[in-house]
Subunit: 199 residues, 4 copies
């Protein structure tokens, strides 16, 4: 398996997933409500679109940082990458559910939608850490990385995964705060290095 085709397929999936977010944006002029009122009522869709676009965009940036380290592609690495993509591809669904719950759902619905959104995010964070663990294990085996450096990098990379359950808990209390938290976390991870830089 060549690294080039692994990157091409992953880029393709991430590009389609990030673009499908737009399908959750839709207004219906001429349905009896003025379009201006519809725009105002659709704020959760717009907010969720921006947040999820940043989340997937930053996954793409960090996916590149991790794959930069890859020399040998093995089947387990492919498996974790596939699981990661499976969670990322679900983001347009959790985004649509959350924005619909914020617009039309009960308080209990919003809590369920926040758990779905945060749960899928935790899922991709865990899959990302398992992918990173596999990539760096191959590096250690091939003598390109010191085992102790790997432990440090893995600890730092994996540390990110604790934020997602925390944001999920915040989302159960107050979902808009969770969205602000995801935005802040994404911008942080866009401009700061994950453990990938050390490995």
């Amino acid at each position: 398996m060549s690294k080039a085709r692994l990157e091409a397929f992953s880029d393709g999936v991430l590009a389609v997933a990030i673009t499908l977010l737009v399908l959750d944006l839709h207004l219906a002029p001429g349905n009896g409500t003025s379009l201006l009122a519809q725009v105002a009522a659709a704020w959760p869709s717009f907010a969720a679109y921006v947040v999820s676009f940043l989340v997937i965009g930053v996954i793409w940036v960090n996916h590149h940082s991790v794959l930069r380290l890859v020399v040998t592609v093995d089947r387990l690495l492919l498996f974790w990458n596939l699981i990661l993509l499976m969670f990322v591809t679900a983001i347009p669904f959790t985004t649509a559910t959350l924005s619909a719950a914020l617009a039309d759902g009960s308080a209990a619905d919003v809590r369920v939608a926040a758990v779905l959104y945060g749960g899928v995010s935790t899922g991709f964070a865990v899959a990302f850490t398992l992918l990173f663990g596999r990539v760096t294990l191959i590096e250690v085996r091939e003598g390109r990385l010191d085992p102790r450096e790997r432990r440090g990098a893995l600890r730092r990379f994996g540390a990110g995964t604790v934020f997602y359950p925390l944001l999920t808990i915040i989302g159960i209390v107050y979902a808009p705060a969770m969205l602000v938290g995801f935005t802040a976390l994404s911008v942080y991870y866009l401009f700061n290095q994950t453990g990938a830089a050390e490995a």
Copy 2:
């Protein structure tokens, strides 16, 4: 026809098809049923999403193994590749039909949906074997593969195609067992070599 552009187009189609699976996931907060009850009722959608994601993901992995062998691209090779992609692209449709039948359909509907799902899967397995046969025939003609080795590799590769009709028959009896079978088959083919490794 360059192999690079054949891979780029195939990767693109597979990446879009795998991502379109998410369009079958949708909940409607605020429609009178609690979101939690909707999540519980939608279990066939979630299960079918995971299974079909693995199925298409493993097709991508094995597609790469087969194309790795290609040096010369001819028109018949392109034709079988196109037929393979046509069946793979139909998977989001058979997935959506099966999960809707499991959620809302009669027992007869579930059987029809299982035959559709299994039939399209059998279709891509047959197309894959024809593609592999063409690729290895060109190898033999160009002196890169021994005809006897080709027969062995083709027999081993094609053996996979008998599992799909078998899983379809299982699906007619009990559809969830078919989904478990597809998962097991996909994980097996992700970690084990098909005949492509010998050719």
Copy 3:
């Protein structure tokens, strides 16, 4: 403008357009009609899916043949390529309209849908010929092609465009025959060279 990125973008658009065809396939188990009856009634969708998949697949194959000739990318070449992609991207729409008209429309609706389908096909054939004309004109200017050979290749390439209005007229009389014609034309163009081979 590099040729590599022109190919990557065109491959991306063609891969998405061919995959979006699947969105026109949908059945609704549990809506009161048995799924088997729905499958039988949806035959125009399945037929149109196969035909349009072949049509776009063959456009991709021949698009590659034409771009193989390109050394210098200029703005007019980009423009004709964009117009070609605009017509190809509309195929999922004309496909869905035609299959819906065959399933549910009046005889007049089927005629209108056939004109739409054939008209968009004529549009991409004309755009393809204009693209081929531009590509070969640049070849002549850069001394890589004899003007007389260009005229012959252009005549042969452009000859294909007369089939599309003819098929449209057949479609006005009897739409299924048009679909058979498109299949035959696609398979012919998949296995036979267009004028691109001479240029």
Copy 4:
């Protein structure tokens, strides 16, 4: 971050966004209205499809011109590129809203839809200028561009951004004129150089 993967991801997003425009085209044969009458009533969808296809197509052409200058990819460059893609990906939504408003909405709805369409266009124009500013700033720092030449190129590139608010104002008065303006601007930018050629 390699420039190749930045281009691949951006090409992917732009290719999906331009192709999703087709999802706004849909007719419903057999719903009681003749298909011919439906085609006539759907003119805003067809017009908006053509205009937005050209708009995204030209963004792709000019995106390439800007990325051609890139040698070093930094995080801020990635950030502006992501914001640019976020606005471009929203174009299928603003296109669908505008065409629906023109077909079914009140005069006030059309004005709101024109502001949405023009606003998102202004958004991508501003993000494009910020991306261009970042790209050329890195060029200056790495000694490949004179600061004075950068100012000239940036002024010329940024000048384009004033047209989008102007077209938005025209759209508030008469939306079809705005669509004509976007077409003219796109064709102009397809055939003429932006400031990118100087940098």
